[in-house]
């Protein structure tokens, strides 16, 4: 909170730091005994997680394991059955969803959600609009500095005036990421950010995430691509049937037989994990 433009300051946190061991660093997000039941369906059933400040955490799990419900719960878009949520020391399981960005959580969506009537720049500006009045500087002409910067970092400067429908799916996803970055969050929640992207684009996104980490931004990544998880994350959580299966170093988690059975199917050899 020291300077108006960055909320998180500059916390040096690289892979060398012990950020992958929860509890040793400061926690950016704490989830305690979280449960979301829809009628008799226990979509999420008693999850406890701690995300370390300044690191990239990942969640893997098969379809229907409760990842999406967990994200909805973290952004307060679904009602909690029980549990506590704490971000940056503030309990927030009872606030309305519109206040979540103010607490420093920004997100992207699993399915691209951009406004078709607005230009790419205006869509990104929506994120800047979410900042508090003291943190906003609207120039009379042109885009505010952080918006232009976010467009530049995500490689969107050339298409800033285009409409989302004119762009490829992968580029649309980058607009979503730019929109989230420009909110200047303390925690960035990325819900399958590389779905629909080709290999080169995935590498670019992974590089962007690591660069953001080097600037001290904590991130939570939900992905199917195991290789991307191994390349990007400091700490991995594995979910199955609404519960936390295991957590730890990405390679260890992927190599865990229970994870392989639940997520990757029986008979899968941990090639990626051996690397």
């Amino acid at each position: 909170m020291s300077s108006p433009s960055t909320r998180h300051g500059t916390v040096p946190a690289g892979p060398a730091d012990p950020v992958d061991v929860p509890g040793t660093g400061t926690a950016v997000l704490e989830i305690r005994d979280l449960a979301v039941h829809y009628g008799g369906v226990k979509a999420v059933d008693g999850i406890t997680m701690t995300l370390a400040e300044g690191g990239i955490s990942g969640i893997i799990g098969p379809n229907g394991s409760g990842k999406s419900t967990l994200v909805a719960a973290l952004t307060r878009l679904t009602r909690l059955t029980r549990g506590e949520l704490t971000v940056g020391g503030t309990r927030y399981e009872r606030v309305r969803p519109g206040r979540v960005p103010g607490l420093g959580i920004a997100r992207t969506f699993q399915t691209v959600r951009l406004l078709g009537d607005l230009s790419v720049a205006a869509n990104v500006q929506l994120g800047y609009d979410a900042r508090s009045r003291a943190e906003r500087r609207a120039p009379l002409r042109g885009l505010p500095g952080p918006v232009a910067e976010a467009l530049e970092r995500t490689g969107l400067t050339d298409v800033a005036r285009a409409r989302p429908s004119e762009l490829s799916y992968g580029t649309q996803r980058r607009v979503e990421i730019a929109r989230a970055i420009v909110m200047d969050p303390r925690l960035l929640l990325l819900d399958e950010p590389t779905a629909g992207m080709n290999a080169a684009e995935r590498v670019e996104i992974s590089a962007l995430m690591r660069q953001l980490r080097s600037e001290g931004l904590s991130q939570l990544l939900i992905e199917h691509d195991v290789q991307m998880m191994l390349d990007t994350c400091d700490h991995l959580f594995a979910m199955a049937q609404g519960r936390l299966l295991t957590e730890g170093r990405p390679a260890d988690v992927v190599a865990d037989p229970r994870v392989q059975e639940a997520y990757l199917g029986k008979g899968w050899k941990a090639d990626a994990a051996d690397q």
């Binding site: 309305r96 969803p97 979540v100 406004l115």
Partner: protein, 310 residues
């Protein structure tokens, strides 16, 4: 010009009132709230203002303010009760509200004059005041159509969940829609009573729902300019086209049907997309340039400069 103005004073007044009534439906629509409660607010404003002038001998400006605020307060209560309803259910509930206001007007005894209505409502409303009020409202509405607020309103309409994730208090926005709609509707009803010095059951009928909806569907639902276009069109059409006079309802019905099918964004929307197409013709095609891609060779640029120079 002044002769034209004098002979068409009633139409000018009717146009200004129609703009406000249309805005009272349009503002909630822009927020994705399909509420037609503005017509009920219009009725409330019409009757409240008549009572204020007849009983309290209030001046025009306080009457306008009080009428608008009373209708806004009723709108807030209605909003708190029904703002969670979606789509058609909200539309029908608000139509029921409009018609309830009509039933109350019918049974209101000396407060409403029952089926006869109230007459002789004279206040010091000048044409300048009427015109100034509408312009002020249009300026305020315009401010919600530019910049940050416009983006946030669009998000609330198109994707409420995304709006919440962008820090928008969606509930507050939706409730505000009811309040603003109530105020604008009440103001329109008040001005209608003051310009015509009378109020009756025709000011709370279902017909007004059709008129207001028609105005913005044909004019355009997403900008005040649409409300203005629609209000001017439908107020003046009967006097321009003689044949329309007798078959007014039929022609209006036909226009609404055609607009619903072919003009999803109204006349103003049509103008906007046409303008956009022209602008796009002069914009370079959209294509993200890869870092390894060479710069555009100078040779291909030069001839264009020559063409431009000529």
């Amino acid at each position: 010009m002044s002769a034209f103005y004098a002979s068409n004073l009633v139409l000018v007044q009717a146009t200004l009132v129609a703009i406000l009534l249309a805005l009272s439906i349009q503002v909630p629509l822009r927020l994705g709230v399909f509420s037609l409660a503005g017509v009920g607010s219009y009725g409330i404003g019409a009757y409240v203002s008549a009572n204020l002038v007849l009983r309290e001998e209030m001046g025009a400006v306080p009457t306008m303010l009080v009428s608008g605020l009373v209708a806004a307060a009723v709108g807030l209560v209605l909003g708190v009760v029904i703002y969670r309803l979606a789509g058609l259910y909200l539309a029908m509930a608000t139509i029921a509200f409009d018609l309830t206001v009509g039933v109350v007007a019918l049974n209101g005894g000396e407060w409403t004059g029952g089926p006869v209505g109230l007459f002789g409502v004279f206040a010091d409303l000048t044409m300048g005041l009427l015109f100034g009020t509408v312009v002020l409202v249009l300026v305020l509405v315009h401010l919600t159509e530019v910049g940050r607020l416009a983006r946030r309103i669009t998000t609330v309409r198109e994707d409420p969940e995304l709006a919440a994730s962008m820090g928008v208090n969606v509930r507050a926005y939706r409730l505000t829609a009811f309040v603003v709609s109530g105020f604008l509707g009440g103001l329109a009803g008040c001005l209608n009573t003051l310009t015509r010095s009378a109020v009756g059951l025709q000011d709370v009928s279902f017909h007004l729902v059709v008129v207001a909806l028609t105005t913005i569907i044909v004019g355009g639902a997403l900008s005040w300019r649409g409300a203005v276009i629609g209000a001017v069109l439908f107020t003046w059409l009967p006097s321009v086209l003689e044949v329309v006079g007798e078959w007014q309802e039929f022609v209006y019905g036909l226009i609404v049907v055609l607009a619903a099918i072919f003009l999803p964004t109204g006349l103003y929307g049509l103008w906007c997309s046409a303008r956009r197409r022209v602008v796009e013709r002069f914009r370079p095609p959209v294509r993200p340039r890869r870092p390894d891609e060479p710069d555009v060779p100078a040779a291909t640029v030069a001839p264009e400069h020559e063409v431009a120079a000529r």
